[in-house]
Amino acid sequence: MTRMEEFKQYPWRLWSRQFMTIVRMELRKSLFRWRSAWIYLLAMAPVAIIAIHAVVDHHTRDGMREDVVVLAAIFQFYYLRLAIFFGCLGIFTRLIRGEMVERSLHYYLLAPVRRELLVIAKFVAGVITSVMVFGTAVFLATAFMYLHFGQKGMQFLTEGAGAYHLKAYLGITVLACLGYGAVFLALSMVFKNPIVPAIVFFGWEAINPVVSPLMQKLSITFYLRHLSPVDVPAQGLFALLTVVTEPVPAWAASLGVVALTTGVLLLACYRVRKLEISYTTE
């Protein structure tokens, strides 16, 4: 049986080969480029600050309660709502729209690859990139936050609540990359300039806690907030406006993000079938 006959009979073998090739090519593009430096900076800025703080502040305090809350606030307000959001915007809009701007997408479209497979493979490469960058950053931030407490900090991080927090933050990071990634990939296929709808989306995510409980459910942040292991209460005017909702079970929140990701990816797959190359209008 020739290779082509084999692929005709078992198309999954061809698809997996093509999938791996595309993922490899895309990872090389997104991980090792100077143009990605701002995403690394975005991810690593708090790590650097926490590391400097760990060196400068010798922590004569006994408890770690304050550090737990500070880390939770950094994760929820910086990583989740800012760094991962804009990092994913940079990574995922580049996958299709970026290649149209650079006029190189047609090379993929002229290959014997199903367009849906191309979108999924590019998405997976984007998820791997974003999870590697932000997962590493969250891991390092957590480690630097507790390890300078010495033996006690190490114990907290490996056996105590710290280990649970770290797992939860990493899990939320993965879900955030999936959800935001799918949304930005789809937006980049619908809009020529996805920045404007992304800013609107950012605004929606930011005001989400103050809208009605039903509307809150149309947000990625809503589900991710309910997965957070440490509650960071809102303060000031924002606290007054916040609409408190029923807690969402972890499994439902995770499933919500996965369902949203799947739905948006299906839309992206539908769009890519109709995609035309007209670089002159880019």
């Binding site: 082509m4 005709k8 080969r17 595309i22 480029r33 650079e102 190189s104 090379y107 014997p112 690859v113």
Partner: protein, 334 residues
């Protein structure tokens, strides 16, 4: 149901059997493409046989749109396109037999010439050694092997053109679509490329070329498609197309003895429009509306031995002249 399959790297062939019937044509059935209100091409109906087909026309005449439609980069607003019985909607079957060298002078970032061709072959499902072998073969064929390990970003325009051509032919397609493939090439590379296209065409492959170098594509073309403002204005063998342009009498150059005697005989024909003696007295330029009638006369005169015919050549039986007649342009800016 396809009954045969083309394996990348196997010798080319131009026909694909579907339900026992070999489909060896590129077919456009009443195809129109509009970009919003702007016309790309309109009501194009073509059936291109294997061999070298040249698409010629000025800027904006719809050549690139036709090629993009053929390869699925844009989709028709109306009509239907098949290439050897296949449609671009089935990319796996389609792009194993079709190679397209676009005129977009852009590349993925930070790739070498070798990687550019090699990675495209990996997408065909080939394993690494086979893809590397075919990549080297293609790069050697276009004369780019010496620069294969350099980044494409450092290539000259001609080298980038060659790299795109190498990628388009690397998987041994049966249909090769080339959009302005001679752009940026020096005269030597131009001649080599034309020789390559001619060889591929002779092997029974479909080679569809658009070029503004009319004389060059004219020389190697089996058929031409002349386009203007999104419409096909003429198509077919270049000589047949010329004969169809009846409002412009055909011109024939004859080198002979006694051109004045020949001119007087030519004027006896109703179809003769003009007979002009050469300044050196050794020939004649004849304009006629009926080429067959004229050649019959010429044979008779030659047989009678009154005039010695030394050479006969059509003077406007080329794409450039046909262009001027059909659309009032010499195609120089296409």
């Amino acid at each position: 149901m396809m009954t045969t399959a083309h394996t990348p790297g196997s010798p080319v062939r131009a026909g694909f059997a579907r339900d026992g019937v070999v489909d060896d044509r590129i077919v456009f059935e009443n195809v129109s493409k509009f970009y919003g209100d702007v016309l790309g091409v309109n009501r194009v109906t073509l059936s291109l046989p294997p061999g070298i087909t040249s698409l010629v026309g000025p800027n904006g005449s719809g050549k690139t749109t036709l090629m993009n439609l053929m390869t699925g980069l844009v989709q028709p607003t109306r009509g239907h396109i098949t290439v050897l019985g296949m449609s671009p909607g089935d990319p796996y079957e389609f792009f194993r037999v079709v190679g397209y060298c676009t005129q977009f002078d852009s590349f993925p970032r930070d790739v070498t010439g070798f990687e550019f061709v090699y990675e495209a072959l990996l997408l065909h499902g080939l394993d690494a050694p086979q893809a590397a072998k075919l990549a080297v073969e293609a790069l050697e064929r276009v004369g780019l092997m010496d620069a294969a390990k350099r980044l494409v970003a450092g290539y000259s325009k001609g080298m980038r053109q060659k790299a795109r051509l190498a990628q388009a032919i690397a998987h041994h397609p049966s249909v090769l679509v080339l959009d302005e493939p001679l752009n940026g090439l020096d005269p030597m590379a131009r001649a080599e490329s034309l020789a390559l296209f001619e060889t591929l065409g002779r092997q029974g492959m479909h080679v569809v070329i658009s070029s503004h170098i009319l004389e060059e594509v004219d020389r190697i073309s089996d058929q031409v498609v002349l386009m203007s403002s999104g419409y096909v204005v003429a198509e077919g063998n270049i000589h047949t197309v010329r004969q169809e342009v009846r409002e412009h009498p055909m011109q024939i150059l004859i080198r002979c003895t006694q051109p004045a005697l020949l001119a007087s005989q030519v004027f006896a024909l109703d179809s003769a429009v003009e007979a002009k003696l050469h300044a050196d007295g050794g020939g004649l330029l004849v304009r006629t509306r009926d080429l067959d009638n004229f050649y019959e006369l010429l044979n008779r005169i030659a047989a009678e031995g009154k005039v010695e015919i030394q050479a006969v050549a059509p003077a406007d039986d080329d794409a450039n002249s046909i262009y001027q007649y059909l659309i009032g342009s010499d195609g120089g800016n296409s």
